[in-house]
């Protein structure tokens, strides 16, 4: 497997975006990019697939709605249909307006929390996780791009990266 990678450091996000375009045009493979803040349009420039997090959230919301409906239908209508202040508990639909606030909140609750948990799982984030930071400066003001050196001539690639505006280049074996 490709064990050799080049770490190119950029000092500016505009430079980085431009470099990403050039590198992709030259058909080199970008392994990873580390940024101190979100760079608008970076994912597009890198050609990353769009996230499906919103779709999962929608489905979690439906689950939450179903849970709320099933729960209240069982508790309030089927299990013990009491007359509470004259509210009609003969069928779910008759008493539904009273359930809507809970149905709404549970939908939001499920959609929000399960989506966040999905995000953590998919991006492998948890407490006590060991940070995977190749260079501490990338959390402050530097942008680091990891380019696969696999089958390419290292010198050519280094030259190319310098031309794209990298201020430091390191070979990582």
């Amino acid at each position: 497997m490709a064990s050799k990678v080049l770490h190119a450091i950029y000092r500016d996000d505009d430079l980085l975006l431009q470099a990403v375009k050039q590198i992709r045009e030259a058909r080199y493979h970008i392994g990873e990019i580390y940024c101190p803040f979100p760079v608008h349009g970076l994912d597009k420039a890198m050609g990353l697939a769009p996230t499906r997090l919103a779709i999962t959230s929608f489905m979690y919301g439906l689950v939450g709605l179903a849970v709320a409906v099933a729960m209240m239908n069982f508790i309030m209508i089927e299990d013990w249909p009491q007359d509470i202040g004259g509210k009609p508990s003969f069928s779910f639909i008759e008493n539904m307006p009273a359930f809507v606030p809970i149905m709404f909140e549970l939908t939001v609750f499920f959609a929000a929390h399960l989506m966040v948990i999905t995000f953590y799982m998919r991006s492998r984030l948890w407490p006590f996780k060991k940070a995977e930071n190749p260079d501490v400066r990338t959390t402050d003001d530097m942008f680091l791009m990891e380019v696969d050196a696999a089958n390419h001539n290292i010198d050519d690639l280094t030259d190319f990266l310098y031309k794209t505006g990298a201020s430091e280049i390191k070979l990582i074996e």
Partner: protein, 469 residues
């Protein structure tokens, strides 16, 4: 510059003519005497029966709160004789069947006579509220210094051009009601007021001269602000600095303050006072949400139409996406207010408030709940996806459904108080929509020809041209 296509002009004129003819038919077809009603009902056998059963139910509703404090039965109070008769009726217990029958037919007669008037009123208000909603949206864009919308300003200005003629029509209708040419507003009938203590206590606010003065103030204010904003916007095209923009910014902020007060009062006057026994505190917001979302939807539809005719060079999918987001968000806002109003009253179930909804659920079940599908479920499911908000025909289809839904909303706000259970979306209603729809189209597209479709001199225009989401 936009040129009004002859096809569109012809369509608008045909709509107006067909609508006018239909309305005239509606007025002619309305029964004039109790005998006419009897004849009409006899020709629809089952129809009459249906009414008879409902009638017994109404008596029950009326007796719910008890006492002679006549709780909210607008259709009854509408016609003075039957109202007086009803008081006796209540005293004498259940009167003889015969007198009850006559009273019933008279009641139906008044509802049927109101029908074409109410149809005009609903349609006139619906199109007027669209242009008012657009004006509010336009002012919000100025006051918020939005960077995305200036390329759409001329479309919005054109839609607000309907404010003057549409407002005048609504005002004329209110004057006609004040002159007792129709019985849309029960409280305008002195006979009714004389027997109704609840309305008597409200006459300080609900009296015809003050009502018309208020309407004139609202309309005058809105039209005045619209005139100034539009004039400045045209002047801004040759501006060299930002002074006119700043002027418009202040005007827009001032308008929004004036608007939110007058809009709220307008909703009490023009819609809530149709049911003078009933009140709701969030009603102004509810009407606002309805007019705001209809206005935004109309902007989106007209923008997409003009774009498809390649008149709006700088409008891209992101602008449509933003409008669709607003349609989506404000639709949910409308639902939130609809539900808040409904649920609070349903939950507490206080008789004098809840009759409003009892009447709507009993007699207007399909439009009342169907509204939730068109105004909430449809836009929520179809416009939730970010990609769908960029698909123009998707936005147009959803927009049409939303507009139909908000027509129903106005319909369900106005009709129960004016025609009661005799409602039907038939020739007068559709004709009135055609008439005002044609007029609206004609005025809006005619106004589009009056100025270039892209504003100049707006400090945000460059940002707006390159807007990308």
């Amino acid at each position: 510059m936009y040129t009004l296509s002859s096809k569109l002009k012809l369509t608008a004129i045909i709509c107006m003519i067909v609508g006018a003819i239909g309305l005239i038919y509606g007025f002619i077809a309305a029964p004039e005497t109790v005998e006419d009603v009897k004849e009409m009902m006899a020709s629809h056998g089952e129809h009459g029966e249906e009414h008879a059963t409902e009638d017994t139910h109404e008596v029950n509703v009326e007796q719910l709160p008890g006492g002679d404090t006549e709780v909210e039965n607008i259709e009854h109070t509408e016609d003075n004789e039957s109202h007086a008769a009803e008081a006796e009726h209540a005293e004498a217990g259940h009167g003889e069947e015969a007198s009850h029958d006559n009273e019933h037919y008279e009641h139906i007669l008044h509802q049927l006579q109101n029908k074409p008037w109410a149809a005009i009123y609903v349609a006139a208000f619906f199109f007027f509220m669209i242009s008012l909603g657009v004006l509010a949206f336009y002012a919000v864009q100025y006051a918020a210094q939005a960077g995305w919308s200036p390329v759409l300003f001329r479309v919005m200005e054109a839609i607000t051009a309907y404010l003057l003629p549409g407002g005048l029509i609504v005002f004329v209708l209110l004057v006609l009601s004040g002159l007792h040419l129709n019985h849309l507003f029960v409280w305008m009938d002195p006979e009714v007021v004389a027997h109704d203590e609840i309305i008597q206590n409200k006459t300080a606010y609900l009296n015809v001269p003050f009502f018309l003065i208020r309407a004139a103030i609202y309309l005058g204010g809105w039209i005045f602000f619209r005139h100034l904003l539009r004039k400045n916007s045209i002047k801004m095209d040759d501006a060299t600095d930002n002074t006119i923009f700043k002027k418009n910014f202040k005007l827009a902020a001032g308008f929004l303050v004036f608007f939110i007060v007058t809009e709220s009062m307008m909703s009490w006057d023009w819609i809530m006072s149709l049911d003078p026994h009933w009140f709701s505190t969030l009603f102004g917001w509810f009407v606002f949400a309805s007019l705001f979302v209809s206005g935004i939807t109309t902007i989106a539809i007209i923008t997409i139409y003009l774009k498809s005719r390649s008149y709006l060079e700088f409008v891209n999918d992101s602008h449509i996406h933003d409008l669709a987001k607003f349609m989506f968000g404000i639709s949910i806002f409308w639902t939130y207010l609809w539900f808040s109003q409904f649920m609070l009253i349903w939950y507490s179930n206080i008789p004098e408030e809840v009759v409003y909804f009892i009447q709507r659920i009993e007699d207007y079940q399909l439009p009342f709940f169907g509204m939730l599908i068109t105004n909430f479920l449809f836009p929520v499911l179809l416009l939730m996806n970010s990609d769908y908000k960029r698909v123009n025909w998707f936005v147009v289809m959803t927009g049409i459904v939303i507009l139909c839904g908000h027509y129903l909303n106005v319909y369900v706000m106005v009709m129960p108080a004016t025609v009661g259970e005799s409602w039907f979306i038939g020739i007068p209603e559709i004709s009135a929509m055609l008439l005002f729809g044609g007029l609206f189209t004609f005025i809006v597209f005619n106004s589009l020809t009056k100025a270039p479709l892209l504003v100049k001199g707006n400090p945000f225009i460059k940002e707006s041209k390159h807007y990308h989401y």
